[in-house]
Amino acid sequence: MMYPWRGEFTIGSPNSQIAIDTLSSKMNFPPELVAIWGQHKTENLGVEKIIANVVSNPNIRYLILCGQEVRGHRSGQSLRALHSDGIDGNGRIIGARGAVPYIENVSAEAIARFREQVELVDMIGTDDLGIVLEKVKELSAARKEPFGEPIIMEFVERDKSSRMKSLTGKISIHKDLLVDPYMEVEIMNTEAEQC
């Protein structure tokens, strides 16, 4: 399945070798020229979605980063840093300046593949559609071979906390927090009787 991770993106031609991350800017492109494009808000989950979707289509060989940077998150700078230097042992994107730039849900293999598969074209700050389209046409002419087989990363639900059943007369919110609707009142009544 191509582009297995849901997100705020539009799909164009699967044979195009260009993907475009427009960061906080809303932009649209001719679908016959671009494989996938969309906005990108966060420096962690957003980056993960881009990695997962790009490696699912080996035809994508260029990733254009354009549009206005996302304030605070620095999503564009974070993606650029990931492409350039990868992550450290804790999952932190090396050199990223965003708020919480950690990658935890995609494998090291997928990150390495992403960094190899695409050439990153840095146009952060450019939201002039004409200028970006010129670059798209230029890259379309510079054909590259598809990058091997697709890597399909299903979005895996995380392990759930140990579940518990509600006990009669009590509400379970979490394993460490049982709310007994009668206990407090009984204690208060006992205290009142003693007074």
Binding site: R74, N90, G91, A99, V100, I173
Partner: protein, 309 residues
């Protein structure tokens, strides 16, 4: 509606009281100022607009009884001094305010600036989180703010346990938990943000963590749950032609943490204060009546329950 057996601490942040048992005190509402392209340049028109929005939030606070905190967005060095000066001019003396500083390097700069101008004791750092770099940790030690919001966001584990782990031990990412570090730095007032996550990323755990954290630590707990609404994919399309419906969901989301015992909500852009304050005041009235009827928790005359009869 809820009552904790753990003693619930009430913080005195200038003239703002924060914490306690559910229904005891009004929910403290944080509105973010200076967020958006309009305020990037800080031209006279933008400054005037920012002042009006800060005053409007304060008026809503006076009306409902819900304490207001101005959350000052600080995204670049050039605007730090100017924005803080405006906020200091607008707020009552001694009033605390929060600084929303996403980048670690900027947080370090803001902490130093606050110390230089003698306002560290009024600062609520929003937030102390796992993104803190070594230089920021040193700045926190040297210039501790009067209060810090500790963020439970844990990219490895969005469950309640994962969020608690971040605060308690650093979740294997930081050497120590945020709680221990904040205490080492001498930050006197600690409040906890459960760390809102998007739908399909354990969004509800953001809410479930509220009573669990309150029960565990007895500290004020809250979150910015409107961020979950903002990141909702379907709504992103729908809101383009249904702005008021979006704003209803955005403001309405604040009912959820309050119902689960939250002490504060970071509700998003300060321009929404007119919608959020009456809404949360209404939820506070339910919570206060429930707390009084069942647990004997009383409220003073400044509570929305008493003010808005």
């Amino acid at each position: 509606m809820l009552n904790f057996s753990t003693e619930q601490r009430i913080l005195e942040l200038g003239d703002i009281r924060l914490g306690g048992q559910p229904g005891e005190l009004p929910t403290v509402l944080f509105g973010t100022a200076f967020y958006g392209k309009k305020f990037k340049s800080m031209d006279p028109e933008a400054v005037d607009e920012a002042r009006k929005l800060i005053r409007a939030q304060e008026e809503m606070s006076q009306l409902t009884g819900n304490p207001a905190v101005v959350d000052v967005y600080l995204g670049d060095s050039e605007t730090v001094a100017g924005r803080l000066d405006i906020v200091l001019e607008e707020l009552p003396e001694k009033r605390f305010f929060s600084v929303d500083v996403p980048e670690s390097a900027m947080r370090r700069e803001v902490l130093r600036h606050a110390s230089q101008v003698g306002i560290s004791h009024r600062i609520i750092l929003n937030s102390f989180n796992l993104g803190a770099e070594q230089e920021e940790l040193e700045a926190l030690k040297e210039h501790p703010p009067g209060c810090a919001i500790l963020l439970g966001y844990n990219p490895k584990d969005f469950s309640v346990d994962g969020r608690i782990d971040m605060l308690e031990s650093g979740a294997g990412i930081m050497e120590k938990g945020l709680m221990e570090l904040a205490k080492e730095f001498g930050i006197e007032n600690i409040i906890l943000d459960t760390g809102a996550t998007p739908f399909e990323h354990s969004a509800a755990e953001t809410l479930r963590a509220i009573p669990v954290m309150k029960n565990k630590w007895g500290l004020p707990v809250g979150c910015a749950i409107h961020n979950t609404v903002e990141s909702w994919l379907w709504m992103k399309q729908y809101r383009r032609e249904h702005k008021s419906e979006y704003l209803t969901c955005d403001a309405g989301s604040n009912a959820l943490p309050v119902m689960l015992g939250a002490d504060f909500c970071i509700y998003g852009p300060i321009r929404n204060s007119g919608m959020v304050f009456p809404f949360v005041a209404m939820v506070d009235k339910f919570m206060a009546e429930g707390a009084d009827d069942y647990f004997g928790v009383s409220q003073d005359d400044g509570h929305p329950r008493r003010k808005l009869t």
